[in-house]
Amino acid sequence: MPSAARRGVTSPPVPSGTSGILQEAVRLLRRGSYAAVQAQIEQLRKSRLDPAAAEAVRQLLAEAHFRAAMLDSDLTERLRYLTAALVETPDAPKLHFHRGVTLWQLARVAEVLPELDAAAAREPQRRGLAYLRALARIAAGQPWDAAGLTPVEANTARLVQKLTQRKPRGGTVTFDEPLLGKGTELWQALIAMREDPAAAPHALLKVAVEQNMRKPIARVLNYYKGVAALRAGDREGARAAWLYAQGAGYDTPELAENLTALLRAEAVELSQAGRWQDLINLLGRVPDLAGDRVLAETGGLAYYHLGYEAAQAGKWQLAAQHWRKSNELDANRYVSQNLALAEEALQNWDNAAEAWREMVRRRPRKEDHPDYLTDVQVAALWSHVADCYQHTDYFSEVETCLRNALKYAPDDTALRLRLADALLDDERPDAAETQLDEIIAVEPQHIEALERLGRLYENRWDRDAMAIWRRVLAINPTHPEARDALADGYIEMVSTGSPFGFYNFTVRNPGKSNIEVLEEGLRELPDHPKLLVELGMIQARANQYPQARASLLRAFQVAPQDVRVANSVVHELLHANAGDAVEAIIPQVGQIPGLLPAFWLDQASKALQCKFGEEWADAFIEEALKLADAPWVDDTRAGLLVAAFEVAQRGQAADLVALLEKRIRAEVPDSGAVQYLEAYRLHSEKQDIRGATRLIREAIRKARQANDKGVLRRAEAIEPALKGAPLPFDIRRIMRDLFPEDL
């Protein structure tokens, strides 16, 4: 490694030998580098030194410690330095003297006198020592004499003794002048205050403080200035003086107690006057409010009131802010409750849930407590927390809270049903089933639980949903959902195409024909229209036309207003060669409230599809047109004719197509329907998309002119399709081909 010199760096000459090191230490001492002095000396201590050098080392080290002590404002550190110095030179009187003073400043009064005595034993004439020893004796209640004291010191010590006696002997305390310090105002003030607990010598203290503004005694004088102010009822003056004293280092239990008492008195008065905001402002000056339980509770109450006022005014955001602070200062279940309600009002559901949970956590556990919550209440709270979480994405919390609620209300079936529903929403059927089973175990006739279980079982090949529906019907024989679901169960048994149908048919009903199964169903659910329709269909396919006719007409008879039943009955009667029956029921079907033209157009479409003849389609179309003016129908005659035209086209019913085209031209020539069907033809027969588009636009224009919303809606639906790829004209047919199940 290159030396410092070779690197071109100048450094101070390194002292060599004991003498050099000592001289360097002295140089450092003069510069005030006391830590460096110690480092130098420690170097020397590692080697053997002659007695003179060893003594010099001790002296130097003690002096370094002493000076460091005197420059340190931290009294504890100062004491540590002085103690270290005394280790090196135990007999040094100045060290004992200053250690005594420091102990005094640290209020370790009992240790002061021995130190000062030690100093006096070695240096009795030390300036100020006799005076301080006299004070130490007075403080310790020991006799003292004025030997060695100056007259000023003796006068002061005598006055101090009079003032520190436990009880004034009576009469006015007198003193001889001169006394230490500027003027005698401070002593006069203290005498007055000592003799009369009500005395408030402002003027004297004011002068005393002004005379000693920058001196250490200013902190004590300011404290008494505060005492005098409060004696005179001047709280602000007291607070200002005490805070000044505190800032200047005056730190006594009395000051802390008085400041606290002052604050509490003001806080109580403000709270009694309902001046909550002023109270908050006052408490804002307290650095550690949480550290004073009474003030924290008072602050919590103030925020509680402010929050309540804000809530009454509908200012929920502000109310929540106040209650959050109240909760921080003095948490209790009522604040948590209000906070939770405010958060709910703000739709902060996570926060609301957390506030409710806080309320549950903070509830008293002893039953004799006035705020004790019963198990029913705790369950209600947990259930409510679950409500809050249901507004959030925390689905798992919903389950957790409901399970918590059930711990307190295990037999609450409504609660358990909510849990089952939550589990079903979370697609956990097995867990939901467990809960539903528990509900039914407690309450075997719980219909809602049975309903859910039935629906759950319908999706399970290894469960018997029909048995559940039978239980529901045993409780309520007219339960519509159960009757329908049970009927569906029978229908599924005869439907080998359904997921469980084949299983049901082969395993549960071996040896029974479809008709026998459905007849059994009808014995259980007499005249159920779904079963009658299904039976009629199967009988028709089995060429049992009279039986089919009877079943279907019975279905219509028992459910004459049911559109689905009517839909099946009308069509299936045609399969059963019962056209006359269809003709007979058409007027009744037409009376079904709210029946739409689409019902009849669908019948027409199916009639054509099943090759029952164009005349049936024509008849059904005519029924559809009768509904054109019904108030619940949002279509027009022209629109229905266009729709019928499409049905006929799809069913390849040439005569019907021609007939409808003729009717359109004759009956609704200006509605846009003519252009619509021409577009249809152009597209489907010549694949002329451009021409078809032009005509559709013309149809739209005409329909708008004629205010024919039926044609307009259909034409506008087609136009976008024509703009794109050369799609077949009938967009509905395309959709049906692509998504047959959706349509």
Partner: protein
């Protein structure tokens, strides 16, 4: 940030019936029947429904205990606090401290800064 939707405060059945939270069962009953006479169902069906719903929420101790859980709670009464006494005495420790500080004010620490003599 968009302003949050603010819901209405929860319906307070006590306010609907015009009673205090501390009212006992008899007071609640009296208030309800007085209001029902004022708003009979045939003349004021909506108000009657409101009164009936409020009454159902507070008519029994059990119902009240559930209802109160989800109502804004008014601030509690002021706790009785003893005023802390001030300590306005003159303390001997302070007199001693004053006297000590006055004594120390006449001293100079610098006088005690001595440079040790080094061996020759």
């Amino acid at each position: 940030m968009a302003a949050k939707t603010v819901s209405k405060p929860p319906n307070d059945p006590y306010a609907v019936l015009g009673i205090e939270r501390t009212s006992d069962e008899a007071e609640i009953k009296r208030a309800y029947f007085r209001l029902v006479r004022e708003y009979p169902p045939e003349r004021a069906p909506e108000k009657f429904q409101e009164l009936r719903a409020a009454y159902d929420q507070v008519r029994t101790v059990e119902a009240r205990s559930q209802t109160d859980l989800f109502l804004l709670q008014p601030p509690p009464a002021l706790p009785k606090r003893r005023k802390l006494a001030y300590n306005l005495d003159v303390h001997p420790e302070d007199i001693i401290e004053l006297a000590v500080e006055l004594g120390l004010a006449g001293l100079s620490v610098q006088e005690d800064f001595n440079e040790p003599e080094l061996p020759r």
